[in-house]
């Protein structure tokens, strides 16, 4: 079948009209009249550059894919990825049980001393900006990782580098599957919550609006407000209206005034 004559199948694929970006992140569009990538990304480009400038160099693709499904609209998963308040109640078993079990201090993530960021609407791009904080690295020996990292910084030896990379990969695997995936300690609870939301939305005739107004009256909403989610929904709405080009997805003054 397709294994025998792959070229035939490829002939039916449309050609990419525009390709842009930088190493590690490529943007492809099949729309010939699309706006330039720089215009599309706008101020969000700075965040992608920062991300890649600090730590994007040694990307490695590993085998083993994880797939799971949920009975919920895809936009709920986007909301889930960018709201600043679901993590602690939804992921109680991760924050209050698992992190405690492995001796990890989660106080910068949960509780009164948690670090709080700001939410931004950069065009249609939703951004949460946080002060740098320790990731809850969930490997078996965070101290070991820190020690090896320090040593690797001083001594340049290919062997040490190789073993550091292997250890780092082990930690990344542990970090990934401790939270993500169908058997992780985080994702299944997200799926459970999103399917619950989807069931709730069956009441749309009685309750036709989903309230995303949190922080609308504030000059600079925090990451626990919902500006970044409004940005996503406004952008989605603009695209559904057939709007081309950039759209302002920030809170407009009259909306802010109404909220105040």
């Amino acid at each position: 079948m397709s294994e025998e004559r792959p070229s035939e199948a490829f002939k039916t694929l449309p050609f990419a009209q525009k390709v842009g970006g930088r190493p590690l992140i490529l943007f492809v569009s099949f729309e010939p009249m699309i706006e330039s990538l720089v215009a599309y990304l706008g101020n969000a480009r700075e965040y992608l550059d920062l991300m890649l400038d600090f730590g994007g160099e040694e990307v490695e693709i590993v085998h083993g894919s994880q797939a799971y499904s949920m009975k919920a609209n895809w936009k709920l998963l986007v909301e889930n990825s960018m709201d600043g308040y679901h993590a602690i109640p939804t992921h109680q078993r991760f924050f209050s049980q698992y992190l405690a079990d492995i001796g990890m201090d989660a106080s910068s993530w949960a509780g009164p001393n948690r670090i709080q960021g700001i939410g931004l609407a950069l065009g249609g791009h939703a951004v949460i900006e946080n002060r740098a904080r320790a990731l809850p690295i969930t490997g078996t020996a965070k101290g070991e990782l820190d020690r090896i990292r320090a040593r690797a910084g001083r001594t340049v030896r290919p062997r040490a580098g190789a073993s550091y990379r292997r250890l780092q990969q082990k930690r990344r695997f542990e970090n990934f599957i401790s939270f993500l995936g169908p058997a992780g300690f985080g994702t299944p609870d997200d799926v459970d919550a999103l399917e619950g939301c989807q069931r709730g939305f069956a009441a749309w005739r009685e309750v036709s609006w989903s309230d995303m107004s949190r922080g609308m009256g504030r000059g600079q909403p925090s990451s626990r407000d919902e500006l970044q989610m409004r940005a996503f929904w406004r952008r989605w709405h603009a695209l559904m209206q057939g709007l081309r080009g950039a759209s302002d997805c920030s809170d407009r003054p009259e909306q802010r005034a109404a909220a105040e």
């Binding site: 590993v62 085998h63 083993g64 894919s65 994880q66 797939a67 939804t90 109680q92 078993r93 209050s96 049980q97 698992y98 079990d101 492995i102 078996t140 292997r166 990969q169 082990k170 695997f173 542990e174 990934f176 599957i177 401790s178 995936g181 169908p182 058997a183 300690f185 299944p188 609870d189 799926v191 459970d192 919550a193």
Partner: protein, 98 residues
């Protein structure tokens, strides 16, 4: 209650003993006696579930669905018993295939 023969006993297990052990393990899971089930695991036990697209892979260079060691397994048990694991309320049913 006389427990089943444990791995590590310096004995050659009979088929009957192995069957009894597996039945005992299954009964513990059915009864959701997870702490007792955990006690069956050796200190260096690994609980590995490979990804569906690489079932023969090595967990050291491939992302697995589950790659628990004894400590992670113990935490998994505590999480399941904590009442905070929303996705497992009600809990999954177990099935045994021989």
């Amino acid at each position: 209650m006389a427990g089943p023969a444990m791995p590590g006993d310096a004995a050659v297990f009979t088929r009957g003993e192995i069957e009894e052990f597996l039945t005992h393990e299954a009964a513990l899971l059915d009864a959701w006696r997870l702490e007792e089930w955990l006690e069956l695991m050796a200190p260096d036990a690994r609980y590995l579930v490979p990804p569906l697209d690489a079932p023969e892979a090595d967990h050291r260079d491939t992302l697995f669905l589950i790659a628990d060691d004894r400590r992670t397994l113990a935490s998994r048990v505590r999480q399941l018993l904590s009442g905070l694991t929303w996705a497992e309320n009600p809990r999954s049913r177990t099935r045994f295939i021989r």
